[in-house]
């Protein structure tokens, strides 16, 4: 915005949801604000701005990260993944989203993007987590609506379907050659 005389800006290159951006950012701009403002990716939500609630969780180079606690300027060269990357352009939900839908894992939806991205990281690490492992991994994300148990169920269910999908894909790709996937790495 032209009316502001900003402090000296910093040039960064950032890949967000597979799209490369060359950006000039103020040193104090938080990743959450960069995503929501300049990049218009408003699916990432801000609940507390101090690292307590987890609503702002995104993946930075595959690691679940609170985007309200990171300056964009720290992220030159990083790859960021947000909730917008999960569903297909045709409206197909990602298996984790589908599991939240089928298990009533959300009500107001405000904490949900953070939960989904946290779940992406967990399922990358642990293909079929049990409820305790889900509570351990997502215990730092607050939800004021659901009482959590349907979120836990959703993540466990997603682990199961994604494993089953992988197994059946593995059989298929034995004959065809694997291609790249869009969306979070399953």
């Amino acid at each position: 915005m032209g009316e502001t005389t900003a402090p000296e800006k910093i040039r960064i290159g950032l890949t967000v949801n597979d799209v490369r951006h060359d950006l000039l950012v103020e040193p104090r701009t938080l990743l959450a604000d960069l995503l929501r403002g300049d990049l218009e990716l408003t699916g990432t939500h801000i609940g507390c701005e101090q690292g307590v609630c987890g609503a702002c969780t995104v993946l930075v180079d595959g690691t679940a990260t609170r985007s309200c606690l990171v300056f964009a300027a720290q992220l030159d060269g990083a790859a960021v993944r947000t909730v917008e990357s999960l569903a297909g352009a045709d409206g197909t939900l990602h298996p984790i989203q589908q599991a939240f839908h089928e298990n009533h894992g959300l009500q107001c939806g405000f904490c949900t993007p953070g939960m989904l991205m946290g779940a992406c990281e967990l399922l990358e690490r642990t293909a079929e987590p049990d409820p305790d492992e889900v509570r351990e991994a997502l215990g730092g994300n607050l939800c004021r609506c659901t009482g959590y148990q349907n979120i836990v169920r959703s993540v466990c269910a997603a682990g199961r379907t994604m494993t089953a999908d992988r197994n059946s894909t593995a059989t298929t790709t034995a004959t065809t050659t694997a291609t790249t996937t869009n969306g979070a790495q399953a």
Binding site: M1, E3, T4, T5, E26, R28, T29, D33, R36, G37, L41, T42, G43, T44, H45, I46, G47, C48, E49, Q50, V52, C53, A55, T82, V83, E84, L86, A87, G91, L93, Q97, F100, H101, H104, L106, Q107, C108, G109, F110, C111, T112, P113, L116, V134, R135, L138, G139, G140, N141, L142, C143, R144, C145, T146, G147, Y148, Q149, N150, I151, V152
Partner: protein
């Protein structure tokens, strides 16, 4: 002809007693709201971006009570990017004081003028090109304060010589009233035992994950304003908001956004609306003001009840409860915008599920230097349930009657419904003993008693809680003012409307007046339409009406919307379905009585192959007037307004408050806790709940409400509290200090349902939005009591933080009461 305003009469063909054949009402249909929320594509108010939009920020008082001596905004104004800086006095030239429901003279402006009365009260506001710059500007504003004595303790605030919060009042007791229902003195005189408790329920807050916000855009050329917000009342009180914003009612357009949780806290959000409104008027540009978490906790209308109870329950020798006396001091904070509404609300069910014959209700609403009370899930009935159930447990102890048995002896019996309670509210239906029995069964009480014994031998303390409580649902806003003798307003019916239309291709659209606030209005409406037309709920399109459409909606509150949306949608569906039957009958040259709507097809009774599709009738109704019955106008559109299904006004002498909250759900909760008396830590081991909210519209969604409410109740029982220092400073302004349950504090909760349909509503539905939080706190208190019984502990204060539990144990050891 296609607009009806009639109140529907309940059609018994839909009542579950006679119709087990419903296809969509009662099914766990997947939520229609989910995909956009899951994809990050729902538009919350923080996602709204308009061309040229500025961002607001607020400078707040660090003091609980102070006179503003001077404000210097010059340095802030000089910062590049700052478009406006307004003090309270300057804002008052642009917007009016906030609308208030109290009869007492307690004016409140969104930005303080001359004096601040609570920590975090707004002192100045800024609009700038981005939020960072706006906050820089706030930091550059210089305010000189003369600090005044802070009134923190509500009992001290009542003293005649206490520092007065408002010069316009004679004392800090803004409202006091004693109401007697039945002959309390005679009942107490004949009692065998009177049990007493002095209970403390501290203030807690709704704390939705999304804060409150608004984007206001003033058009100075036609004097109109457009406001995007997460207020739940955009179709209930837009006229009041217009008055505050200084816009004529027919030039204010309020557009609802997806709401990231409310739990009562986002009904009004008048402060946020006024701040955004003043800034857009000052700059002529759209302004977004979205609270940050500190703004929300310290200044939003987030805060629930803050009560000290002196309570007595009188009983006969065999445990019959005969009279209840409640003396309440309620710390309302610095303003009284919503009057004593939470006590009007408490009139709905003060005597719980029991046949208590008389009631004395004595309430003092006291002002102190804290943020004012707003509303939080439970809205006044939450501490009421806590205190009543504590008294019942105490009576069970003192009379030596098992706590399940004493409840059973006093329950209103199924054949006594509809039941008129002492204050006048009517309960529609229920089977409380069945709920209790089922809860004891699913909890496996004997197994837990054995476990308790085993652990006690090891020096560990397991406790089994029990509470049987009411959840009044389907609220009527008269409760906000009917404790006044001369109410400033007459009784209301708190109506809800929908607009339903069938297009030329047979597609069904419904426009609703409430926002998407975290529950499932689209799903509920679709299920009802599907039920009435026999179509798939996935094929129904539901949209949200802004405030210019004439929609009426009191929004979510008092667990009303499933009841009200069912009524409004069913009424509109029937109007259109009947019209389509007449058009089809005309086309098929039949009598309308011989045509029926089955599976979205209009067909001859007994000859289903003679039929017309929704599209065929739709096209005819929209385009071919001459082929429709003469008396029918073109089109298929109906607005149906559903007024509160059963309310009666209070009597002039207030001996009978009337029926105002008559759809009454019921639940029994059995939590299992383990308490460490050394550290004071309470751990939930298991949780069982049996709930009866009438006909279940959608079992999965009801369960979601109950579990979510129980978890908020776990917060209320164990950790949630606004804490203040002696100087009135707020010690819990962020989520680091204001603690809420995470996944770690919450057990797997087992929920079961019984269904006693309401005779007053469509399909027999009752509400279920608050029940979890209305029961859990007192159930958990009872569990902690049970655990620490060997140590002589009696819980009469929530939340049971580790410090408090350790204190209670120490107190019991020293023989303190």
């Amino acid at each position: 002809m296609s607009t009806v305003e009639d109140r529907p009469t309940t059609d018994t063909t839909g009542s579950p007693r006679e119709n087990g054949g419903r296809r969509w009402v009662g099914r766990s249909v997947l939520r229609k709201e989910d995909p956009k929320l899951l994809a990050g594509r729902a538009v919350y108010v923080g996602d709204v971006a308009l061309p040229g939009m500025l961002h607001g920020a607020v400078l707040r008082s660090p003091h609980a009570h102070a006179r503003i001596v001077s404000i210097d905004t010059s340095a802030a104004e000089a910062i590049p990017g700052v478009a406006a800086v307004l003090t309270g006095a300057q804002a008052a030239e642009l917007v009016n004081p906030m609308p208030a429901f109290c009869a007492e003279p307690v004016p409140q402006t969104a930005i303080a003028i001359e004096r601040v009365r609570y920590p975090g009260e707004a002192v100045a506001i800024v609009a700038a090109t981005d939020r960072y710059v706006a906050e820089d500007a706030c930091a550059a504003i210089k305010v000189e304060y003369e600090v005044l004595p802070a009134v923190v303790d509500p009992e001290a605030a009542m003293a005649p010589d206490a520092t007065r919060i408002h010069e316009t009042l004679d004392s800090n007791v803004a409202f006091h009233r004693t109401l007697d229902f039945g002959d309390v003195d005679a009942d107490v005189a004949r009692a065998h035992t009177v049990v007493r408790t002095r209970a403390r329920w501290h203030r807690m807050g709704a704390q939705p994950m999304e804060t409150a916000g608004a984007v206001a855009s003033w058009n100075p050329f036609d004097q109109s304003m457009t406001v995007y917000s997460n207020s739940n009342f955009h179709n209930f009180l837009p006229w009041a908001f217009a008055g505050m914003l200084g816009v004529s009612t027919n030039r204010l357009r309020m557009i609802p956004c997806a709401v990231g949780g409310s739990f009562g806290s986002k009904h009004f959000i008048t402060k946020v609306l006024a701040i955004a409104g003043a800034l857009t008027k000052a700059t002529g540009r759209p302004v977004q003001y979205l609270e940050d978490r500190v703004d929300n906790i310290s200044a939003n209308d987030n805060v629930g009840c803050d009560r000290i109870y002196d309570a007595e329950l009188a009983l006969t020798e065999d445990g019959e409860m005969i009279s209840l006396t409640l003396r309440i001091i309620d710390d309302y904070g610095a303003y009284f915008q919503f009057a004593h509404g939470q006590h009007g609300n408490a009139m709905a069910q003060p005597t719980g599920p029991y046949r208590i014959g008389s009631l004395r209700y004595d309430v003092s609403c006291v002002l102190t230097n804290k943020v004012q009370q707003g509303f939080f899930r439970g809205a006044g009935a939450d501490p009421g349930n806590f205190v009543l159930e504590r008294l019942v447990d105490k009576a069970s102890e003192e009379l030596g009657i098992d706590r399940a048995e004493i409840r059973r002896r006093n329950f209103i019996a199924p054949e006594q419904f509809p039941f008129k309670t002492p204050p006048g509210n009517v309960y529609d239906s229920g089977d409380y003993a069945a709920v209790l029995d089922r809860a004891l069964e699913i909890a496996g009480i004997d197994k837990w008693r054995a476990e308790q014994e085993r652990l006690r031998a090891e020096g560990r303390y397991l406790g089994i809680g029990l509470a049987t409580c009411q959840e009044r649902t389907g609220y009527n806003a008269s409760e906000w003012w009917f404790l006044y003798d001369n109410p400033p307003l007459p009784a209301t019916s708190t109506p809800e409307s929908v607009k339903l239309d069938v297009d030329a291709m047979g597609g069904v659209r419904v426009e609703i007046g409430c926002p998407l606030w975290g529950n499932s209005p689209e799903t509920v409406v679709s299920q009802v339409v599907a039920e009435e037309f026999g179509i798939d709920p996935a094929d129904v399109s539901v949209t949200y009406a802004d405030s210019t459409t004439g929609a009426m909606s009191a929004g979510p509150g008092g667990s009303r919307l499933t009841i009200m949306l069912s009524g409004a949608t069913r009424g509109a569906s029937r109007t259109i379905r009947d019209k389509m039957i007449r058009i089809a009958a005309h086309a098929m040259e039949m009598d309308p009585d011989d045509v029926e709507c089955v599976d979205g097809t209009f067909r001859a009774k007994g000859a289903p192959s003679t039929s017309m599709s929704m599209a065929e009738i739709g096209m005819r109704a929209h385009l071919f007037f001459h082929d429709t019955p003469e008396e029918e106008s073109s089109g298929l559109v109906a607005v149906h307004t559903y007024d509160h299904p059963y309310s009666t006004p209070p009597s002039a002498d207030r001996k009978d408050m009337g029926a105002f909250y008559p759809m009454v759900s019921h639940a029994c909760h059995i939590p299992i806790v383990e308490v460490d008396p050394e550290t004071g830590v309470v751990t939930l081991r298991a949780y069982y709940a049996v709930n009866d909210c009438g006909t279940l519209m959608n079992p999965t969604l009801v369960e979601g409400q109950i579990v979510g409410g129980i978890v908020q109740g776990i917060g209320a029982a164990l950790m949630e509290e606004y804490r203040y220092g002696e100087d009135g400073s707020l010690d819990t302004p962020t989520f680091r200090e204001y603690l809420m349950p995470s996944m770690h504090e919450v057990p797997e909760i087992v929920v079961e349902h019984l269904e006693t349909p309401s005779p007053f509503t469509e399909y027999g539905v009752k509400g279920a939005g608050e029940g979890g939080r209305l029961v859990a706190p007192t159930a958990i208190a009872s569990a902690v009591d049970d655990a620490l019984k060997p140590l002589g502990v009696w819980v009469d204060e929530l939340p049971m933080t580790p410090e408090r539990v350790v204190g209670m144990v120490a107190g019991a050891r020293e023989g303190r009461p």
